[in-house]
């Protein structure tokens, strides 16, 4: 830790000395609490992107300053303020949590900085609160569950029990699946979230079981996902209440679930805009190098963070400086970089217009649990709030 602090200090001193030739990216993510596992993965991916770029964006030195949001909107806003005012970064990116992004957005945008979400995609920011300086390398929250709703229709599921945490993204996820799912929602639970999130779902699972639904849809990102899967398994619901999840089973929870041998998760299906098995050169390089370095498959958080750094570096390289905001904005919007999800383009509200895939949990050739694409659910999907964005 101390070594890291000294390095960080040295790095920040060096960067002040050479600010004219460098581009500074602030990266806000969760580095403490149980959710730090997500932040760590994003940090690893961002560092890998910098490494792949040789530490340069065109002729400019690339510097990423990480900051912790402590899994709380107020701390995230403070971290953003510090990056914007004290470090005077040119771009702010990261943001796992929708409520943190919503709290921080004004700090970054009012200071004239570019804000690039590498994960959170609250409906507000895709619609009414959209901004010419805001971009996303992830998705709008509703999109992934909308794809899942479509999958449920195709599989003939008639009734559904829905569970999600009670915060901005949780509500978006519920809204998303309910928008495309044509059957009946027989029950809905929004559980407590944050640093003291509810992790024991006994009461909710008992209700879900009693509802006799055809399936259960859940959204539990990070550590809560592992906890949910285990309790679902222990409650013996696998045969009576099939699990359909978004952002719950991912590259972060699978190694843990495998270590504890929770086989119930094998074969479970989830929707996502990216997958380690996507066949393109950038993705192959990213997945292979990430695995070589950290020993696990990268999560979608990692993929989006990698893309965020690549997007910024590509725009800066094109423009050649960080002063010409208009040129930078145009370069960001063009998104001419090699994304790990293949072609990448922005819609009118600066949210990606992209494919969504159905993925299945499988064991790879080494026996490691991972996901693999089953089919494409949506092609070039535009989020539902783009029309509300007046830009």
């Amino acid at each position: 830790m101390r070594k890291f602090m000294t390095l960080a200090l040295a790095a920040s001193l060096m960067s002040t000395a050479a600010w004219a030739e460098s581009v500074k990216i602030g990266f806000v993510t969760t580095l403490t609490t149980g959710a730090a596992v997500i932040g760590k993965d994003m940090q690893n991916a961002a560092n890998l992107a910098v490494e792949h770029l040789g530490g340069k964006a065109g002729n400019l030195d690339l510097e990423v300053i990480f900051a912790d949001d402590g899994f709380a909107p107020e701390t995230g806003k403070q971290a953003t303020d510090k990056l914007v005012k004290q470090d005077d970064v040119d771009f702010v990116t990261g943001y796992i949590w929708s409520h943190v992004l919503l709290a921080s957005r004004k700090s970054a945008l009012d200071a004239g900085k570019f804000l690039i979400s590498a994960n959170a995609g609250p409906s507000q920011i895709a619609g009414k609160l959209c901004d010419e300086n805001f971009f996303s390398t992830s998705w709008q929250n509703d999109q992934t569950p909308m794809a899942m709703g479509e999958v449920l229709n195709r599989q003939g599921v008639k009734s559904l029990y829905v569970m999600a945490p009670n915060y901005a993204a949780g509500k978006d996820m519920v809204a998303g699946v309910e928008r495309t799912f044509k059957g009946e929602i027989v029950g809905r639970d929004l559980t407590k979230w944050g640093a003291d999130a509810q992790l024991d779902f006994s009461a909710e699972l008992a209700k879900a079981k009693a509802s006799n639904a055809d399936g259960i849809f859940v959204f539990y990102p990070g550590a809560a996902g592992g906890a949910f899967i285990k309790q679902y398994d222990q409650a013996g619901l696998k045969d009576t209440l099939p699990l359909y999840s978004v952002f719950t089973v991912d590259g972060l929870s699978l190694p843990k679930l495998q270590a504890a041998n929770f086989e119930a998760v094998l074969g479970s299906r989830t929707t996502q805009e990216w997958d380690p098995s996507l066949d393109n050169a950038a993705n192959k390089k990213f997945v292979a190098d990430f695995k070589a370095k950290h020993g696990t498959y990268p999560s979608f958080y990692a993929a989006q963070s990698y893309d965020a750094i690549m997007l910024i570096a590509n725009a800066v390289a094109k423009v050649g400086n960080t002063e010409d905001k208009d040129a930078l904005r145009a370069a960001l919007k063009a998104a001419d970089f090699q994304s790990v999800r293949g072609d990448f383009k922005f819609g009118t509200n600066n949210m990606p217009v992209q494919n969504f895939y159905l993925r299945e949990v499988v064991a790879d050739s080494d026996g490691t649990w991972t996901t693999q694409v089953v089919e494409t659910v949506f092609e070039d999907h535009v989020d539902s709030y783009a029309a509300d964005c007046k830009m």
């Binding site: 149980g34 730090a36 009670n166 929004l190 003291d196 006994s202 009461a203 909710e204 906890a227 504890a260």
Partner: protein
């Protein structure tokens, strides 16, 4: 309904394990230990590591228990003992610092990811009590373990020489030491016992929620609510209050949104119900503090 009641009792018993240690330490040593939750977390992490080492959860619990007790003893010796003579604010500051140290230490040793704990096959299943009544075997085990720990504790405190000394120490510390009892060792033992109980709760919950950093900070607040409602220093109060709080919390989560739907739109009910059910236990605490500030079952003092 019966399932939810069982879930509530299970949560209550876990709360009791944490709260009993807290109330022992607070009631007898007059020491506010915020870091009690960290011992709960350490219990979970140690047990998780040992489970992978031995390949068996139950053995891991048996070995992890004395280890957690030993950590409790060390905490008492090096952190708590120098602070006894100070006032409560210093206790809070000191143990809050300890929380940060232990959380970071856990982060360094086990990483940020947390550990999922596997259970033996025979605990993985469900027990069918009747057509509609199916409960995971492991949850029944928690209820069993919690109840036996509670019974053991009652026996220890009420019917053994050590228990007698503990009660005597709680009533009049100076008199006990004047009678030639080594009060320091007694206090250390009580502290270690509290740590073991908290650790046991952590070990029992780990296979359900997994061992994660900061898990103790969630339960410690609820545990304080329990001992305030039950009466500080009272074992019986802690037990009844823990079950009560466990039931109220579970029932609130299960039925409050249906109740709210009678009075407001489904949308508003679904958003406000989890918020209100999270508040319920604090509302209970506020009521108890207003109407009966000494708690429901305060210990008899003279």
């Amino acid at each position: 309904m019966i399932i939810q009641a069982l879930n509530g009792v299970q949560l209550g018993l876990l709360l009791f394990l944490v709260a009993s240690g807290l109330t022992l330490v607070f009631g007898i040593l007059d020491f506010v230990n915020l870091a009690h939750g960290s011992l709960y977390m350490l219990g979970a992490f140690i047990c998780a590591s040992l489970t992978f080492l031995f390949g068996n959860f139950l053995w891991a619990v048996l070995v992890a228990l004395p280890l957690t007790g030993a950590i409790g003893y060390l905490v008492e010796r090096f952190v708590a003992r120098p602070l006894y003579a100070r006032d409560h604010l210093d206790h809070v500051l000191g143990t809050f610092g300890l929380i940060l140290v232990l959380d970071t230490l856990t982060h360094l040793v086990w990483g940020p990811a947390g550990i999922a704990v596997p259970l033996p096959d025979w605990l993985e299943g469900q027990l069918t009590l009747s057509e509609t009544l199916v409960i995971p075997t492991y949850r029944l085990l928690i209820i069993g373990a919690g109840l036996s720990a509670a019974v053991g504790l009652f026996w220890l405190v009420n019917y053994t020489r050590l228990g007698m000394l503990i009660r005597a120490g709680a009533s009049n510390r100076t008199m006990v030491s004047a009678l030639g009892i080594d009060i320091q060792t007694l206090f250390a033992l009580v502290f270690a016992l509290g740590a073991m109980l908290a650790g046991l709760a952590g070990m029992l919950i780990a296979p359900i929620t997994e061992a994660s950093i900061g898990m103790g900070n969630n339960i410690i607040i609820t545990a304080f609510v329990v001992i305030i409602v039950g009466g500080i220093g009272s074992m019986k109060g802690a037990f009844i209050a823990a079950i009560l709080i466990g039931l109220i919390d579970t029932m609130g989560r299960s039925f409050l949104d249906d109740l709210f739907k009678l009075a407001m739109s489904p949308e508003a009910a679904e958003t406000s119900a989890p918020a209100v059910s999270a508040m319920l236990i604090y509302i209970i605490m506020a009521l108890v503090l207003a109407l009966r500030p000494q708690g429901l079952f305060p210990p008899r003092t003279r």
